[in-house]
Amino acid sequence: MQHRGSRSSGAPGSESAPRTPDKGIGRRRFLGYLVAAPTLAAAAHLGQSAAAPREAGAVIPSAPEASEISDLNDLMTAAAAPTSNLISVVVNSDGTASFDMPRSESGQGVTTMAAMLIAEELDLPLDKINVTLADARPELVFNQITAGSNTVISTYRPIRIAAAIARGQLLKAAAVELGEDPTRLTSYLGVIKAPDGRTIGYGALAGRAASQQTKQVEVTLKDPSEFTVIGTPRNRIDALAAVTGRKTFAMDLNIPDALPTMICRPPTIKGTPRSVANADEVRQMPGVTDVVQIATGIAVRAKTFGQCIDAVNALDATWNPGTADNESDDTVLDKIRQAESPFTVPKVDPAAEVVEGRFTFYFRNNAALEPNTAVADVRPDRAEIWAPLQTPILCKQRVAKQLGLQEDAVAVHVQQAGGAFGRRLFDDAVIEAVEASRKMGKPVKLMWHRTDECRQGRTHPLCTSRIRASFSGDNVLTFEQRHASVGTDYSHGFGEMLTATNDDDRPPVVRENDKGSAGQVFNLTVNVPYNFGAVTQSLDEVDTYGTFPTGSVRNLVNPDVRTAQELMVDQIAAKMGKDPYQFRREFVDDERLRAVLDKVAAEGEWGREMAHKTAQAITVHKEYKGATACLVEIDCRDETVNRKIRNAVTGPRVTKVVMAIDAGLPVNPRGLEAQMQGGIMDGIAQALTSSLHLRDGVLLEGSWDDYFYTRHWNAPLETRVIVMPPTTGKPGGAGEFGVASPMAAVACAYARATGTIPTSFPINHDTLSFNPKPTVPPLPPSPTNGLTFTY
């Protein structure tokens, strides 16, 4: 612990004196609640609004993009305000505090962040704060979605308010016990001390400080100058559980009689089962207890998952066609090409030079390492669900509808996720588990096989991004971006927050896809972070959002959108005869961007001499109330590109990354660094190696040795993340923020090292680097030769 000292009491309730007199106190006074409970419970409304002011730009200022005035996070926080309910911090008689967090923890570190906020305002050590994940709470409406890097932004104040009220109440109870004025007491690490040295612990006070009735109280939060926890690097609160194997995921749960269950799936995307010839025979296989047909395939329940795999592969099933049986990468790209909107900005200056680019980004898998898993126990009058979920309320509502039950008859327990990356926004596995459990009349622990994850799991949609820019002298006059994409499914919750427009003159695909809200999400997330004169950006979609099982991967459209932009920025700079770093320095539309750019240029030794076929590149990104810049070095020499590793893609290696992030107020710099490191690995994968190949309705990849996410041998040998000191005083997002600028930088570095500007991503997509596994039977057989690979 790094608490630097005790602090005096103050103003926990409106009748008390302020903690310390200062001018900023009005801005730190908030209303919260004491909640009637047997032990001390303090609460606050979840929800705040914060529209970031926009700074005027230099050079030729661009009109502010929609995302700069009101971005997705403003929408998510504002949508909450009128409907949100209370979140509570509870102090227990053993001296610990508990917080049931209405968010999903998937590795992004939000439970640690929440514990830090409580530790700060409650003056309690981190290891005495227990943060659990709340069951689905429908009364929270929009406020239990975990997405858009919004968790810190939307919970920063309410959690602190609740913790501060709890501390105030403890001081009052201690004052009675110790016969002292509360303003003369100090709190430190869970102990309250009187001036004469007498002490009393929080545990002893928890019951006495409990409120008999729920009432509103005013509280003053700490001044940032007093922070001893917020802003200091802390380790994850679940780190010990993770390294000892004790951290529990949905598939580790021991729910009585919830036996392993898997699904035999169709050979093409979204196919459906027609008939099964040998269900009885398969039921007789070792370990197998049940075989039932469900909407998406044939569900098999057995004593072990291994026996499920064997049974799935033994099924003799026939299938109806899927939704994309005749589609391949090329056919989808043709459709996209036809849907691409023309550029519209007229030539401003007859003498201006024009540059144009068109970039293709292939389907990508947003699977986590923990596959889709859901435990379901469906009874005639109720159902209980355990699953990692970013949108648990929606899941609860969908399950209730599926079973014809009242919502309160469905309990949804949110589990820690083994990664999310967008996939846990959807409850596909829960709906399947519920159907299987209902039809079998038994609890099930449903898990997707890895091959299912690749072939029937959700994908980041194939898309193109076209850019036309014009410049004259030292000014960029116009910058237009036309993004065209397979429809993205945002029907999981973002959609409900947004008011869909209904213009019936629009083509059917657009009308249908607006239900999925992709257009609005695009407008609320993209920007061009440079002063480039007349700037326009738009999205066109093909196929209804349900044709392919889509869902955005981490950082939504921006890794693609920004990669296309930064490749063009380097071209414009080159044509103007300007250094890529100096050009960006001159044109960025935000001082915070300029600061992170300068930081990585200095720390990453921008401009140092590089060997032939190796190069540096530098990029920026602005989103989530923050700013990032990334400098990478890439090695495209033959001896590196042609490294041979069994069943592996090698190719160019990013050897060094220096990234800087200004998150406004970094709550946990160590966690923020981790999120950026992860984003870097995603950016490298998406630029160089990871994509899905669509051929005749089949995604060819079937394992992690087909779908090439970054591996140890492609990870940079040197990765440095610089967390900038606080700037705005308000925390920004982290989880998704780290992908866009590294992906763009890797693409730019590749262009500079090879002299060839890449136009499709990942750069290795045109070469199929593996032998596709059969689609029938659907799963690869379990190997038996594991002992020949020991080391």
Binding site: F305, A368, L369, R450
Partner: protein, 158 residues
Amino acid sequence: MRTHTFIVNGERVHVKIEDDVRLLWVLRDVLGITGPKYGCGINVCKACTCHINGKAFNPCSVRVADIKGNDEVTTIEGLPDTVGADLHPMQEAWLERDVAQCGYCQPGQIMAAVAKVRQAREAGHEVNDADIDEIRNICRCGTYARIREAIKEGATKM
């Protein structure tokens, strides 16, 4: 169906199950040892990495019948006992560097790291970047930078 017996984390176990059930499912679904994770089932992702007689291996790809009676299987749960401590030095290094994010692959990463350090030493050198590049364990959160640091640090205390 016969009864298979071998040693897991220092204790002899007896499991009555079909010969061809892979050891991963015997550990997880029968014995309730859930530290080794499923990530692919075909010896690719390495999330289930454990040790057999001190060497790294993947139980998703070994039939239970191929485990001999005196084979010693160590999962992440049993790793600290191999050094007679609450935590193995590699786990300590992992905590020191705050390596884990979601944590799902981390038991396998740690088991692989310990074996890789030993393998390097048997080859006469300390673990280096080239050795770490050979590790196939996937971390989808992308914690590779901290894993690399933690392996080198953990090795110094092994």
